[in-house]
Structures are given as C-alpha cells and as structure tokens.
C-alpha cells in the first residue's frame, strides 16, 4: 500500500493494552476523516454517550499524503471523537492541526492512533517506531506542566544526552536515526482541569482547537502523545510526485521575482507571510516564515524575541484591546501554553468586558467576578482571566465559582448567570456572539452562507476558507484599494466551473438576498461539504491553501483544483482517483457523519441558529460593509451583504431543499435506508433503524 504505513495503533488506556488495526480494513475511506468516522462507528457501540465517557474514543488520523512532498497537503492530522464544547449536544466532531505530527507518525510506521478508555492515573504515550509505551506522567512530573514545558521535557527524555542537532537513535541502534525531536501533541492545565474550551498544542502553536478535545484527553488522563520515527513512506511513482510538485510550484505558487501580492491570502498563490491578525498590526522585528511539513508557503512566523512564535489567525486576535502589540502577542502564548481555544476566548473575553462596562459583571456585581478590570489592557488582566478559566478559580489561586463557570464555556456560563432568559437574553440580542451550536462566531454568518449553513448542518464552526476570497477580496478592494482578482462574473465562472458535479451553476455563488435560501445555495453547501470531507479532511489538503480555484499565476487566472488533488493522491498511492471520485466519497463520509449525529439525537427541529441571527442585522466591528458576488438588477456585481438577517420560515424551506438534495427524510432530517444502501452503508441504516432513527423514504 504505497502512501500508507499499513497499520493503525489502538491504545486502551484503561487496561494499557496496545493493539493494531490493519489499515487495509479501512482503506476504502482513503485516510483522515473518512477512516476516523468509520473506525468511530465500528468501535463506539452507543453513539449517544457523553464526550467525557471513557467509552468515547479519539482518533488521530493521517493521510496517504502525510509526510510526502505534496504542497500544503502533507502535514495535517485529523482528530475525531465526541466533543464536549457544543450545545445542546456534544456532537461527534473533528479538529485538525498542522506541523509535523502526522508525518512523524507515518515515519514511525503508523497511519493513525485510536485512543479509548481512561487511565487510572495521568499518562502519556511514547511512540518510537514500533515501540509504544504508556508511561506514567509522574516519572517526568508532566501533569501540571504547560504545553510547551511538557513537550520539551519529553524531548529531553527521548533524546537523553544526545545534543540538539546531532543524530539520535530513538528506538535503539538498529531502529534508525534522526536529527529531529519527537512530535508531541499535549494538553495544558486547562485540559487537565476539564475546561470545555481546552485544546491541544503541538510545537509552539499548531492547535487542535475545536471540540474541547483537550478536556476529552484530560478526562482520559492522557497528557500527551509523543512520536518519533525513522522509517520510510513508500511512494508509488516518485518521479510523478516530484514532477507534480515542481509543476504545481512553477505554475501556481508565488514567485519572489514576480509577486502578484505581498500580503498573506488564504489561497494557494499566497506568498509566505505570517497570518497574524493582531489589532495593532504585525511585529516589525526579525522573523522568518514557518511552514508545516512539505508546504510551499508558510503561514506562521518565528520572531527575534520568541514571542508569539507560530501563532496565527484566531490565536492572534485574543485580547484585542490590550494596551500594546507586545501584550497581545504575549497573550497568544498564554493561550497556547495553558491550552485554551482562542476563538472562544476572544469572544468570551469581549463578552465579559461588555458586561463589566454595563455594570453587570464585576466584584460584588450581579455577576460576581474577581477579575481586576483596573488592569484591563495590561498583561496581568489576560493572565488572571486565563488562569481563572484554566484552574477554575479566581485567577489567583483562590477558589471562586466565576472561573468554574467560565471553564464550562461562555454559553453555559451565561446560562448559569440567567443571561439567556427571556426575549432580551444575550443570544436573542446578539450580545453573546456564539451563534451556532453554542460555538463562537467566526465569519459573519448572514454574509457567508456557505459558512453558516455548513456549520449549522454539521457539527462545528466549519473553519473552511474555500470561498472566503469571494468576501475578502472585494471587501478589502473597497476598503483598502487592493486589486480585485477579477469581475464578479469572471470570478464566479472560474469557481463554479470546477464544482463538479454541479459545475456551471453560476448562481451557487449568488449571495444576494433573493438567493439566500435557494436550491443553488443548497448545491453550494453540498459541494463544499463533500469536497471538504474528502479532499480537505480525509486526504488532508490544507484549508488555508486549498482548493485552488482562482490563481493569478494560472492560465486565465484558473487555479489547479480538480487537476492537482488527484494528481498528488495518485502519484503517491497508485490509485486511479478522479476529482469527482473524491467528491463522491466525500458524500459518503458526510452521510456517515450525519448518521452518527442522528444517532446522537439530531432532528431537523434542532437545526436552528441562535435567535439573534433571525432578528438582528449583520454588522462588522469596524463599521465597514462586506461585499460578495451576487446578481443585482440582472447583472453580476460585488454587492453589499451586510445589514440582513435570516428569515426563520425561509430557513426551514432551505433545510427542506438541502435534505432533499441529500436524499434524506425532509420531515426529520434523518438519513434513509435507500440512500445509505446506495452508498454501501446498509449497516449504518440497520443501526439507525434499531434506534428508531431511520428516515422514511
């Protein structure tokens, strides 16, 4: 099996038994998410259990492309299991991180890891090629360390006296050698203390942020997984892979001597510039771009002062009203070291700031809060907040219910404080910006419909940027004068021509009010689900670089998506996959996920946004409007999409259209036997039927 190590590691923490699963048993799912969902379905008999239940499993899956020369497609790890962050149900969900963990796992000889059970004391997993040990944390005093300390202590333990940079024989003399340090994925104290917003950190800031998996690991008493490998990944056609890489790089990647843009963009053509979003701009000090394994264009940075190393995106938005850029950068590191989800922390911090300013929250106020708002803007405030949530106390080591409340997540805390009650509850007014499944806001849902519908019809903030340029490019063109990629009509054509099997339906990208609930938008969401589930989350092309729809280096601005993805997959594996084959397998994986959510208790009636998305007009914080392509007066333009809200009854009509397109029961949203059997998943239909959750045809 070229591209595969051939086996998946299965670790039962309860009895500390280690087994292997033959990868070929799940090879039809190709890798990543597909394999993870299939394994979850097989191993978790009762899908309705809570995420903290020891019977919950966590899978960490690689792809056949992990550790290969595929550009922006060799470094992601897909983690799945029942999460603890969303409400009303902790959905079976996913999180994904980059860096070098998945490649190292493959070099060690494993295509993935399945963790089940709960250890009797805190442990960590030590993987050195085939040698796998469940080790007690107490030997290295790991429990209680932050994520960076934990990783470096494990490095020291595995490397022994070997100096940094020299060859190391981690698995003994005949086990091969490496100059690399182990790839470690660790929880911080927040995960140990079961905060529902706890995440996992690898290296400085590669984060598996969503789902509260840090707390799931904490409940399993699993502090870290360390892996170091010295083996080879077989490649079916090495020349074809090298040629594909150079072809992709030559025709579609940035050129230093011909830069089309000088800023980071979330697409393949972007130059290597750290994707930081600090409110006060970028740090103008010595730095380098830093890339995941095999990536052509790094999106992170490392800095001369070592602060904020590798932090990007949401992590760099936390604490926006810090007094200085330096403080905001240090606040990033606080999140990474304690292991906290940055998106939840961003919007949560702004929420309590707002409540404090309104006189509702503070020492002795209606919501008794021990935070010292007198130090707001200074690092001390961020530290106290982070400590309070991490340790469930007042942020200074003293017991206090405030930290305990927040550790459960901001929506649960607001509920406990009575802030969600009545017609003026904080999710009715939009004061608490956690719009879908109790999860924090990301893109403006009422503008970016692919994002909003993908999230509400799925399990988490999709965090998939495939269509984000349709908003960011025209919006920043109007705001800052950056050049447009093309006219709305031209761009829409380039995108939709690639969206098989719906190619050519231009109105899939018509974001006008009139088209918000249409069959066209249902197709857009459908295509996005299928593409992401397979090419992005199973084959694991990076979200920030793929799909490559529009590319200023490409012929006629046409990017490589549709050609490139199967080119790399086939070169590595020897498969004969077409792009459409991948979309079809994405459909199958999406159906399996939906079946699991149905078994967890999902019904179409639950599929609702927070109330404020139906009543409050959309807005941006800087007051500028947003533009997206749409048809206005019969012509394609970049139209204003802010100021609108969803209509509840029309959204119901949209759901019906979407369910019909999936061939699910439109009354309940349940999958049907006919559909599942057509996807060779009759066994899934059997389980749904047993649980009384099979849709009617």
């Amino acid at each position: 099996m070229s591209g595969y190590a051939g086996k998946i590691l299965r670790v039962n923490l309860t009895n500390r038994k280690i087994k292997t699963i033959a990868t070929k048993k799940y090879a039809k799912w190709v890798g990543g998410h597909g394999m993870g969902s299939a394994i979850f379905f097989d191993l978790v008999k009762d899908k309705s259990i809570d995420g903290f239940d020891p019977a919950n499993i966590v899978t960490l899956m690689t792809s056949p492309l992990s550790g290969t020369l595929t550009p922006a497609g060799a470094a992601r790890t897909e983690m799945q299991g029942i999460g603890v962050q969303s409400i009303p149900i902790g959905w079976f969900t996913r999180s994904n991180f980059g860096g070098r963990f998945s490649s190292m796992l493959k070099y060690a000889g494993w295509d993935g890891i399945v963790v089940e059970g709960r250890a009797d004391e805190p442990v960590w997993l030590d993987i050195r090629n085939d040698a796998v040990s469940v080790r007690n944390c107490r030997d290295l005093a790991l429990w209680g360390t932050d994520t960076w300390q934990c990783q470096q202590q494990i490095w020291k333990y595995v490397a022994g006296k070997q100096m940094f940079g020299d060859w190391l024989e981690p698995a003994g003399r005949d086990g091969g050698q490496t100059t690399q340090r182990p790839a470690v994925l660790a929880i911080g104290p927040a995960g140990e203390n079961l905060s529902r917003m706890a995440c996992l950190i690898h290296d400085a800031s590669s984060s598996a942020g969503q789902g509260g998996f840090g707390a799931v690991w904490g409940a399993k008493r699993l502090k870290a997984i360390s892996v170091i490998g010295t083996g080879s990944i077989r490649v079916h056609n090495p020349q074809a892979l090298m040629q594909a890489r150079l072809w992709q790089q030559k025709n579609y990647a940035f050129k230093l001597d011909n830069l089309k843009r000088k800023y980071m963009s979330v697409d393949f053509q972007s130059p290597p510039v750290p994707g930081t979003l600090y409110r006060r701009g970028k740090p103008w000090i010595g730095k380098r771009p830093q890339a995941c394994i095999g990536c052509h264009s790094g999106c992170r940075g490392r800095y001369a002062d070592g602060i904020g190393n590798e932090a990007t995106c949401f992590t760099t938005t936390f604490y926006p009203f810090a007094d200085s850029l330096g403080i905001q950068r240090q606040a990033c590191d606080l999140l990474n070291r304690n292991g906290l989800n940055a998106a939840e922390m961003l919007w949560g911090e702004l929420y309590i700031r707002d409540l404090n300013r309104a006189g509702i929250l503070g020492p002795g106020k209606e919501i008794d809060c021990p935070l010292n708002f007198g130090s707001y803007g200074q690092l001390a405030f961020a530290e106290q907040l982070v400590q309070a949530i991490t340790y469930r106390n007042d942020g200074r080591g003293n017991e206090h219910r405030f930290g305990d409340d927040l550790a459960e997540g901001f929506v649960r805390a607001a509920d406990k404080w009575g802030r969600l009650d009545g017609a003026h509850g904080d999710l009715q007014t939009g004061r608490l910006m956690f719009p879908i499944w109790g999860l924090p806001r990301h893109k403006e849902a009422r503008s970016q419909l692919d994002w909003a519908y993908g999230t509400i019809l799925g399990d988490r903030d999709i965090n998939e940027h495939g269509f984000d340029q349709l908003r960011s490019n025209p919006t920043y063109n109007k705001r800052w004068g950056i050049p447009l990629y093309g006219s709305a009509e031209e761009v829409v054509k380039i995108y939709t021509d690639k969206m098989v099997p719906f190619q050519g339906d231009r109105r899939m990208l018509d974001f006008s009010d009139a088209n918000m609930y249409s069959e066209h938008i249902a197709k857009l969401v459908t295509w996005h689900r299928y593409y992401s589930r397979f090419w992005k989350q199973s084959v694991q092309f990076c979200d920030w670089r793929w799909p490559d729809f529009l590319n200023l280096y490409g012929p006629g601005k046409v990017g490589s998506t549709g050609i490139a993805e199967p080119k790399f997959l086939n070169a590595v594996t020897g498969y004969n996959f077409s792009f459409l084959n991948g979309i079809e397998l994405g459909r199958k994986i999406w159906n399996l996920d939906h079946a699991i959510w149905t078994l967890q208790g999902r019904h179409r009636d639950m599929v609702q946004f927070a109330d404020y998305l139906y009543t409050q007009p959309s807005f941006t914080f800087d007051g500028h409007t947003e533009y997206m392509p749409g048809i206005e007066n019969g012509k394609w333009r970049y139209i204003k999409v802010l100021g609108r809200h969803f209509d509840k009854s029309k959204f119901e009509e949209f759901k019906t259209r979407f369910y019909r397109l999936q061939a699910w029961d439109t009354r309940s949203g349940y999958p049907t036997r006919k559909t599942l059997e057509s996807l060779d998943m009759g066994y899934v239909a059997d389980e749904l039927e047993k649980e009384g959750r099979l849709g009617r045809a």
């Binding site: 020299d166 690399q180 090495p238 090298m242 380098r288 890339a291 394994i293 190393n309």
Partner: protein, 247 residues
C-alpha cells in the same frame, strides 16, 4: 544487526576515528582556496590511517549554499532528497538536514546542514573500502558507491560536522545491510524527475524544490573556514518586501 564498526570494537580492535579525535582535541585544520587543489594528507590529522594511494583529491565542481534566515522549515528539501535518491519519503535518509526548535527565537530556531563537498574530504580519506570517492564522471562530487560500502560508519565518524553529513542506514536494496549515503548533488538518483539528470551539470532536487529559494547551487568553491562560505544571504529585495528584515 550491528555496524561492522561495533563488531570491531567488540573485538578490541577500535581505532580512534578522525571525528572522535577532532571532538576531543577541538582541532580542525582547513586548507582552502578558490580553485585550490589540495593534497589530502597535508590537512589530515595523524590518528587516522589512510591508504597511501589516495593522496590527491580534486575539488568538487559543485556546492550547495543555504540561507538559514530565509528557510521556512518546511523540510521540502529533505523530502525531495530521499524521493529522488531512494524513491521513498524519509527525512532520516536525507542528505540535507533541517533542524529546528519552535520554542527558540529567530534566527536560532532553524539551521540547515548540508554536505559541504569539502575540498579536504576527510570522509573520503576515512573510507576503508574505497567506496567514498571523488567521482570524476560527475565533476568530482564526493560520492558513495554502495556496492563497495561495507557500512562501517567510518565516514560518519570522520565527518567533523554535526550532524555528520554522511548517513548510514539499513538498505533494503542490499539485503538490509548498513550502507552509507551522502549528498552527491543528485548525480546518482534512480528517481530523478528530469531527463537531464542531476550532478554539478544537472538539477539538484533540494535546490529545485525549495519554495523560498533558500538553497543555491554554485560551482565556485566556498570559503572552507567556518560556516560563512556555505551559510550565505540569499534574501533580497522581494524578500524584504514581504516584511522580513535585512539582518
């Protein structure tokens, strides 16, 4: 399986290798000059015994230069290296090594360690099987003939740099025996992607694949003393234009 060297040690016949000697004494002698032709023995330390007939090694016609401040740490060079040489992906077999520490500050967080194709190649001199030689067919690049290599690791021990630039590992093409590999500027690459092939007059995988241009090929002999000849500044206006400092 043990290295033959280990077996030798077990028999009590251990010789002091050059690398070990240099580590102990801290003495490294460089005799250099652009275009210079260096009789090997002149710079070779006493404790190492070499065959008398290998007394003149012509310089290589090609060298790799790197910019450790420009490197983005993607390790694409390592992946390309093993892909074209071995047909697999395996950083442990790569002839060029990127070593990084995400918790350190720039520029100390990353280094690139490539074979220097030394003008005074102690690895060549240390090989007891004549397997490591300057290959005239490929511009005198220092190359390993794996059919001759006995996997003793003497070349690794002799290399004065950390990590050693020769890589000794099990080789499935040779009955899982230990065999040495080292940078040959892609001269001997069974999986080379280009019909023109590699070597000093061809294309080197790491140079071609590096997305930021942090590796460069030159035919000029770099200054041999210290790192300055090999670790160079390949940044320029476009790089600075992306917000990176000149320093």
């Amino acid at each position: 399986m043990n290295y033959p060297k280990e077996r030798e040690k077990a028999n009590g016949n251990e010789k002091i290798s050059r690398r070990r000697f240099l580590k102990v004494t801290g003495t490294i002698i460089f005799v250099v000059g652009a275009g210079s032709y260096v009789p090997a023995k002149k710079s070779y330390s006493k404790p190492v015994t070499t065959d008398a007939h290998r007394d003149a090694i012509p310089p290589s016609n090609g060298y790799l230069l790197v910019d450790i401040r420009k490197c983005q740490g993607c390790t694409s060079c390592m992946l390309a290296c093993t892909l074209v040489h071995e047909g697999v992906e395996n950083p442990s077999l790569s002839r060029i090594q990127i070593i990084q520490n995400p918790f350190k500050s720039f520029p100390d967080d990353v280094t690139i360690e490539q074979c220097r194709q030394c003008v005074d190649p102690v690895c060549v001199q240390a090989c007891p099987a004549d397997a490591l030689q300057a290959n005239a067919k490929y511009g005198n690049v220092r190359m390993v003939d794996r059919t001759k290599c006995i996997g003793c690791g003497d070349c690794t021990e002799a290399c004065p740099y950390t990590p050693s630039r020769t890589v000794v590992a099990l080789d499935e093409n040779f009955n899982e025996d230990f065999k040495a590999r080292k940078c040959d500027l892609c001269a001997n690459t069974p999986y080379h992607w280009d019909v023109a092939g590699g070597g000093p007059d061809g294309k080197q995988a790491c140079v071609e694949v590096c997305p930021v241009g942090a590796i460069e090929f030159t035919k000029e002999i770099p200054a041999q003393k210290g790192d300055e000849g090999y670790k160079v500044n390949l940044r320029g206006t476009p790089w600075w234009g992306l917000g990176y400092t000149k320093g």
